[in-house]
Each structure stands twice: as structure tokens, then as C-alpha cells.
């Protein structure tokens, strides 16, 4: 049966150095529940290590949590990469880890990086500076995620930094993105006047939440049965009754 899910596909936990300490699994899932969000993707910077805790916390409250990561490429472009299960994203985690900058996190400058369990209990700190660019090129990242069966969505393309448009200035035609993420649709529309290729892709509108109050759930997905990468792929293509759209402010 086709069903509509309120989605938020770009969320940081307290594992991202810039993610606030309040972004624990219970808090985020609780806030999502209150706001009617039924599909969430955890997308920390260059790591997926809090995915198991969030998937467990989500399962208890009936919220689907996708295994995600916001990878920073060597061009300093942020890309949201999505998979179904934690096991599915581990090969990407391995590739990303092999391309870390080698710089250790400086908590004074960037903040703490906590891996937690589903109740928010701190398990360990990640040593590498997750906030920095990896050595992966955009092309290599896109190809690897595709090979591994994930979805590739360039993040906040309307942001003046760390985005595909701000850093490259165009959309490379040879790369297969599944969708583009915008923060402010009116900004993205302005950009699309100059760069019409932006209109060739489906858009999602995400909050890139770093604290609880930022969670919004603007994007709606019509999917069959329960959410999955395969269902999202159909929705992005608008096939078999699946579709994606978002609410304007």
C-alpha cells in the first residue's frame, strides 16, 4: 500500500564535532516523533558510527532511520550518502577512513566527537578530525557509493560554502546523483536560473540539523509499504506511484 512519510534526510548527532551534545538518539528520535517525522537519516560528518544507536532508538519509536553519512570530498563539497542498514554503509566507512586527512580532532576548535549507545551513553571518542575534507574526489565518492548500492545526494546546494555549486560552480554531467538537497527552495530556484541542470534532478529539502530545534521534516515521500533505499530511488524517479515533494515555508 502506498503511504506518505514525512522525511528528514540530513541530521547530525553529537558525533559530529559541530553537532550539539543534545543530539543523542533518544532526544533526536523524540523530537522527530513530536514533529511527525517518520523517516530520518543520520548523516554525521565522514562517519556512520552512531547509526546503530539511532536505528535502535528509532525502531523502538516506530521511526525508520537510514544509515547515512555526510562525506566531505577533496573539493570540500558535502555529499549525503544513504544506505539501508549499518552493515551496508560499512564498506563506505572503510573507504572514507582510508582517506582521512591524518589530522586529529582539536576539541577546543571544533568540538567533541562521541560515539554513543541508543540511550546516549558515551562509548568512545573518535580521534580523527571528522570536520575536515577527505582525500576522496567527488567522482570517486559518487562511483563508490553507486557501486555499493547507496544513494548520492549533494548537500545544501544553495549554501555559499561546502556545496557542489559554491565550490564547483556547475553540475558535472558525467556523475549520477539521485537527487539534490536544498535548504531554502527559493535560493535554489534562483541558482537554477543560471544553472538549469539543477532542474534535471529531483530536490529534497533538508534541515541539516545540528541541534534539536532545527529538525523540520519538510520533505514528503510517497512509498509502498516501508521506506528503503529501493523505495526512495523509485520516488526520486517518480515511478510506480512513488513520489517526493516538499512543503514550502
Amino acid at each position: 500500500m502506498l503511504k506518505v512519510y514525512r522525511g528528514e534526510l540530513h541530521v547530525h548527532s553529537l558525533l559530529s564535532p559541530c553537532g550539539q551534545p543534545e543530539m543523542t538518539p533518544e532526544n533526536v528520535i523524540g523530537e522527530a516523533k513530536e514533529k511527525g517525522i517518520s523517516l530520518l537519516a543520520l548523516t554525521d560528518h565522514n562517519t556512520a558510527q552512531n547509526v546503530p544507536a539511532f536505528q535502535e532508538a528509532g525502531r523502538k519509536k516506530g521511526i525508520y532511520v537510514l544509515a547515512g553519512m555526510e562525506v566531505e570530498t577533496k573539493e570540500e563539497v558535502h555529499v549525503v550518502c544513504l544506505f539501508d542498514k549499518y552493515e551496508d554503509i560499512l564498506p563506505l566507512q572503510k573507504i572514507v577512513s582510508e582517506h582521512f586527512s591524518g589530522v586529529e580532532n582539536d576539541e577546543r576548535l571544533w568540538g567533541t566527537q562521541w560515539v554513543v549507545d541508543e540511550r546516549g551513553k558515551k562509548i568512545k571518542k573518535i580521534k580523527e578530525a571528522l570536520i575536515l575534507a577527505t582525500g576522496l574526489s567527488l567522482k570517486k565518492l559518487v562511483n563508490e557509493v553507486k557501486r555499493l548500492g547507496g544513494l548520492v545526494i549533494p548537500a545544501h546546494i544553495d549554501r555559499p560554502r561546502y556545496s557542489l555549486i559554491s565550490n564547483l560552480g556547475f553540475i558535472p554531467a558525467e556523475l549520477e546523483f539521485d537527487a539534490l538537497e536544498v535548504r531554502r527552495p527559493f535560493k535554489a530556484r534562483e541558482l537554477a536560473l543560471e544553472i538549469p541542470e539543477i532542474n534535471k534532478y529531483p530536490w529534497i529539502c533538508s534541515s541539516d540539523a545540528h541541534f534539536l530545534g532545527q529538525l523540520k521534516g519538510s520533505t514528503l515521500f510517497q512509498l509502498k509499504d516501508k521506506p528503503s533505499i529501493a523505495e526512495l530511488r523509485l520516488a526520486f524517479k517518480g515511478l510506480k506511484g512513488r513520489k517526493v515533494w516538499f512543503n514550502e515555508e
Binding site: 570540500e76 576548535l109 575536515l132
Partner: protein, 111 residues
């Protein structure tokens, strides 16, 4: 050359770090890719960039740069200024291009 002399000769506007102007400038560095600056710039250099977001402060702090010049009239975010004050980083601005500013600094340091 002292940072205060560079500031005067290049006509830079000081946003933060007045107290750091007596520090020595050993050279200049130009790039807008933060990872590249972090890997290749050296302590004491003055960094010319168009980036105005807060991560430039982290880079300047880690490398111990003499200061950061946000060029070409690009805007500097409030958060960046706050961070620079906290981390005691000298933040400067100019309406002129990186090319011109770096060229002038090069001439000054060569003499």
C-alpha cells in the same frame, strides 16, 4: 616585517586581534581550499582568502598563521569574528583582490 606595518602598507581593515599586530609576518599564502592551507601553509604567514566562514579561524589557529585577510570585499560572518576573538586570531579584510594584495606583500617582503 611586523603585521602592523603590513596592515598599514596594504591598507587592511582590522576586525579582530589588535593586540597581535606586533607579531612578525614571515610570508604570505594564497588558497581558498582549507584542507590545502592546513597542509601547506606555515606558521607566521599571512593568509589571503575569499572564505569568510568560521572554519578559517580553526585553520589559522592550528597552523599559527600571523593572520587571515578576507579579500575582495567578501563578507565575514559574525560567528567567524566571535571565534577569532576567542582564539586570538588576527582577522583582516580588504576590498582588493587576492592577486593585488599578495603581489604587494611579496614586494614588501622581497625588499
Amino acid at each position: 616585517m611586523l603585521l602592523k606595518d603590513v596592515v598599514e602598507k596594504l591598507d587592511l581593515k582590522v576586525l579582530t586581534g589588535e593586540e597581535l599586530l606586533n607579531n612578525e609576518v614571515s610570508g604570505g599564502f594564497c588558497s581558498d581550499l582549507l584542507s590545502y592551507v592546513m597542509a601547506n601553509s606555515q606558521k607566521g604567514q599571512l593568509w589571503f582568502t575569499i572564505q569568510g566562514h568560521q572554519n578559517i579561524v580553526a585553520v589559522a589557529s592550528l597552523v599559527e598563521l600571523a593572520g587571515v585577510v578576507v579579500c575582495d570585499g567578501m563578507s565575514v560572518e559574525e560567528e567567524t569574528i566571535k571565534k577569532a576573538e576567542e582564539q586570538e586570531i588576527c582577522l583582516l579584510t580588504s576590498d582588493r583582490t587576492i592577486f593585488k594584495l599578495a603581489g604587494e606583500l611579496y614586494s614588501l617582503l622581497k625588499d
